[in-house]
Subunit: 199 residues, 2 copies
DNA sequence: CCATTAAAATAGCGATCCCTATTAAAATGT
DNA sequence: ACATTTTAATAGGGATCGCTATTTTAATGG
């Protein structure tokens, strides 16, 4: 029998690269080096395995990223580092491009609607985490009282999703970070350096 | 035999909703009311049909959107209307959510790599169209000479992709437009109204 | 050492995938 | 009206889908 965490790591990587519908149970068992019955006795079903692989991967990333976001840094600095960290995650060498969650299962066959709801809920949770940090910034006087933190969180959520999409299409680390730098000029009260070429 | 354009319209809608991998040829023939051999004699293959359905749909949208973008309006106004039009397209009633191209085939099985390259090329073309408009704005003195128009185009491209993703997750028209309004405050030289709630 | 439990591998279920050879129906020409 | 061409429908091929019953192998207990 295989180690459960190793299996989840292998599954996560396959789902990450090929998506839920693009990954077959044959792909999964082959990559894990197990037989089909082992997959089903260990993880329940393909959908359950996907859920567990997502949880497993998110748990790993979240410790570092929530540390950045919930640190005592000024909210603007924390957001910057958070976005840079995501850009790095989208473009790791020897890893699939983009984010495993941000752009997963957006289109899908009817039979996979519950899987799509799952990833959508994860994306919403990620936006709510951003919003909560922004709300704290308002309380701390770092942002104007009447700031629309919900829209602000959805704006940076859109940036995160856009970065994932562009990373899937081949965009490199540096290109994503240039994009982040523009997104950060939309921060409330920030003065804009007029977006010029450096070369 | 069915009318070719009607067939493409039906196919486009199915692919739009379910994605390439989530749409089967049985779905397509059933929705068009034809038999499998007719599909293959008319459109060649599933992949060819997808390509033709994309071209067909893009041709329809592009006339209006490139009119907006290439009009004599100031570039900032043109961009605003362009983005609003996309937000509307992402949230049409009785149509699938999101954009048929912006977030299509980001993850995929190996066997569908050529389909993914196709949609990636369409996204890149869309970004280059934006960049070309921004370059013209630089020539016309609407933007500083040293503006990094490439990054600026990729930034608004990311917004477009993020909007599509959030529309797939259920975001409404108004929510997307609030998001656009923030994105527009990142426009070079724009003064930022500090992003407050209107209610 | 044998009986019993637990683990792994094989084999294959019914359904569906994309696509096509073959048959049936309809349209056309003289 | 009949032969010919064109179009549509059926049937199904070979492969794969997610998943499981069954068999084989291995580990454990007395």
């Amino acid at each position: 029998m295989l180690d459960r965490d190793i299996g989840l790591d292998i599954a996560a990587r396959l789902f990450w690269e090929r998506g839920y519908e693009g990954t077959s149970t044959a792909d999964l068992t082959k990559a894990m080096g197990i037989n089909p019955p082992t997959l089903y006795s260990t993880f329940g079903s393909k959908e359950e395995l996907y859920r567990q692989a997502l949880d497993f991967s998110i748990a790993r990333e979240n410790s570092r990223r929530s540390e950045i976001l919930q640190s005592n840094l000024p909210v603007y600095e924390a957001l910057s580092l958070y976005l840079y960290d995501i850009a790095d995650g989208d473009t790791q060498p020897d890893k699939p491009r983009g984010c495993m969650v941000s752009t997963a299962v957006l289109q899908h066959a009817e039979e996979n609607a519950s899987v799509a709801r799952m990833t959508a809920a994860l994306r919403e949770a990620s936006i709510q985490t951003l919003k909560a940090r922004f709300d704290r910034a308002v309380e701390d006087g770092e942002l104007p009282t009447a700031t629309d933190t919900d829209t602000l969180a959805r704006f940076y959520g859109a940036i995160i999703q856009g970065m994932s999409a562009q990373a899937c299409d081949g965009a490199c680390n540096v290109r994503l970070k240039r994009l982040i730098d523009i997104a950060l000029t939309a921060w409330p009260g920030k003065r804009r350096p007029s977006t010029e070429n450096s070369d």
